[in-house]
Amino acid sequence: MTSTGMTSTGMTSTGMTSTGTTGAPRALPRPRISPKTARKTRTTFLNASGLLVALLTLFPIFWMISTAFKPSQEIYSLTPHLLPAHPTLGNFSQVMSGQASGIGSFWLFFRNSLAVTLATVVLASLVSLLASVAVARFRFRFRASYLIMLLIVQMIPGQALIIALFLDFDRLGLLQNLGGLVLVYAAQALPVSIWMLRNFVATVPRELEEAAAIDGAGPMRIFWRIMFPLVAPGLVATSIFSFITAYNEFIVALTFLGQAHSDYTLPIYVTYFFGRGGAEWGPIMAASTLYTIPVVLFFLLVQRRMASGLVAGAVKG
């Protein structure tokens, strides 16, 4: 597209091109070109690649939503259309009414997922806040061992634990029970949460606490009035992490919930009617669209914190 421009201006300029050509695609051994044209070519090339990456990445999501709005004769038509020719809400209403899955309305499972997720977030935040205060504020024996333990525990594969967890929770009567899921999810979220949160606690200036102590505030008061507000952004970051862990979790819910349909969380609900053979792709795509929307919105709302939090957790340690 820019090749004509390159050759026409290329004749006029000689030399001094070594800085401009580095990023341009290396096509033919071509005549020297002016830095300005080279920069333009580079920008065009970069923007085109960016567009390609974005479209390829977005396409599967687009296809999920598009399928969700198609009537079934269009879904199974021999020539698929990008957009539904006759958009319908039929798939969504089947999902909402419970007709599609045969085990209940979408709202039931949404409520289950929401309850499990929120309980996990609260529990994990509380416990990891306490632990990160200990790690960030005190020097004590086993501190390093504790931190290394967190790193290692975080890597234990869920599949390796699931047998023992299943048998233990069975004995405790906590299978087929949303509370049992909350316990497991909160514990699973702890290592990363503590690891992330301790950095935030460490940045709270000690002088503030000391000043409050001199003014006669007890430890509880110091904690709630000084530590807590300053650590709140960190708590948001860890809450995001535990929210996503709990909302997306599959293997434990699959194993624990078994045939307890009314306790299903959203991922198990979506796979339930996906797994029933003779799949009805319209309702399935409608259900997974509805399942995906909340977490995607959440991601978009908190994206900056999300990225920095995860990067801090993964890279800085």
């Binding site: 990445t57 599967p60 390796a160 047998i163 505030a217 890279v315």
Partner: protein, 331 residues
């Protein structure tokens, strides 16, 4: 070494809120119990839900632990290395191990390369375009694994799936002479099934790599690139001579994390291969799950497998911990 507990001793004993409470807090201060008390809930939760099960699984792996043993109908017997011997004698184990390793190799390589390229691209793009591309990547990242798996299953479905339709319309010299219309990706064998799994995993995990690499790139001073360019380094050389050495710690951590994630993959392969429907498409996780949860369950065999998987991952994790410690993560 001066900690909060010590400093609070200087504060006036504010509340005369009952003797017992005062006595407890004196004990806490004298023996510096505060950090341990604060750690207690997390240690209890992690210990009971994450560590104790590992111990149990390790114990099962040396026993003939099955259904009669869980109900108490028969006692569990120690059988030494019997479960491990049975596992190593099972060709299905070696197949699943091979699938796991090859998949992790392919997925990790493609994810890291794609993610790094996109990270470099994001760094070079203008503001508007960069926000657009990273938002698109964020959406793929945010899609829950279950949604993504179901979605890719549908894209690659032989009945009405888009990929088969498109491939059937492409010229043979490009896509081979396979009869693509109606090609079943998920039941024809491990190679097509794990091709889909690789695409799915790469699609979901390259954004994390890209965002992390981008964050690292922002820390590289622009003068260094400028200097390299003046010295006549191209984009390729500039990356390997300037960017890579500076971001090496980040790449190391990303590599180890990716290996761990892709070695462990369960949700995606479970759903793509049809809920334990195809034994010749098991990876280690599916094989392990199948041993424990399809009738009759053998918790002993499954435990042996879990132990093998954990030990393999532990080796990788040791690398991860060492990399983190070297970056001063424990300070």
């Amino acid at each position: 070494m001066v900690d909060t507990a010590q400093r609070q001793r200087r504060a006036p004993a504010a509340r005369p809120a009952g003797h017992r409470r005062a006595r407890v807090s004196v004990l806490v201060r004298r023996y510096r119990l505060a950090p341990y008390l604060l750690l207690l809930p997390s240690v209890a939760a992690i210990g009971l839900v994450l560590l104790w099960p590992v111990v149990q699984v390790a114990l099962y792996s040396f026993q003939n632990y099955g259904l009669p043993q869980t109900t108490g109908a028969a006692p569990a017997q120690w059988i030494g290395l019997g479960n491990f011997r049975a596992t190593f004698a099972d060709p299905e184990f070696w197949l699943s191990l091979r699938i796991t390793v090859l998949f992790a190799l392919a997925a990790v390589t493609i994810t890291l390369v794609t993610g790094t390229l996109v990270g470099l691209l994001l760094n070079a793009l203008g503001r508007v375009m960069s926000v657009f591309v990273s938002t698109a990547a964020l959406l793929a990242w945010a899609t829950p694994p279950v949604s993504a798996s179901v979605l890719f299953y549908w894209l690659f479905n032989p009945d009405g799936g888009l990929v088969d339709w498109a491939l059937a319309r492409m010229p043979h010299w490009l896509v081979g002479s396979t009869d693509w219309a109606g090609f079943n990706w998920t039941t024809t064998g491990a190679l097509p099934a794990y091709t889909v799994a690789t695409l799915l995993v790469v699609w979901q995990s390259f954004p994390f790599i890209a965002v992390t690499v981008l964050a690292g790139l922002k820390t590289v001073p622009a003068e260094l690139h400028e200097a390299a360019r003046v010295d006549g380094a191209g984009a390729w050389q500039g990356f390997w001579k300037v960017t890579y050495p500076l971001l090496k710690p980040i790449f190391l951590v990303l590599l180890l994390l990716s290996v761990i994630w892709d070695f462990n993959v369960f949700t995606q392969t479970y759903l793509l291969t049809g809920n334990l429907g195809n034994r010749d498409e098991y990876n280690l996780s599916l094989y392990l799950y199948d041993k424990a949860f399809t009738f009759p369950p053998s918790y002993g065999l499954s435990g042996a497998l879990a132990l093998i998987l954990t030990i393999i991952l532990l080796v990788v994790t040791v690398g991860y911990v060492r990399a983190s410690v070297r970056q001063g993560a424990l300070s």
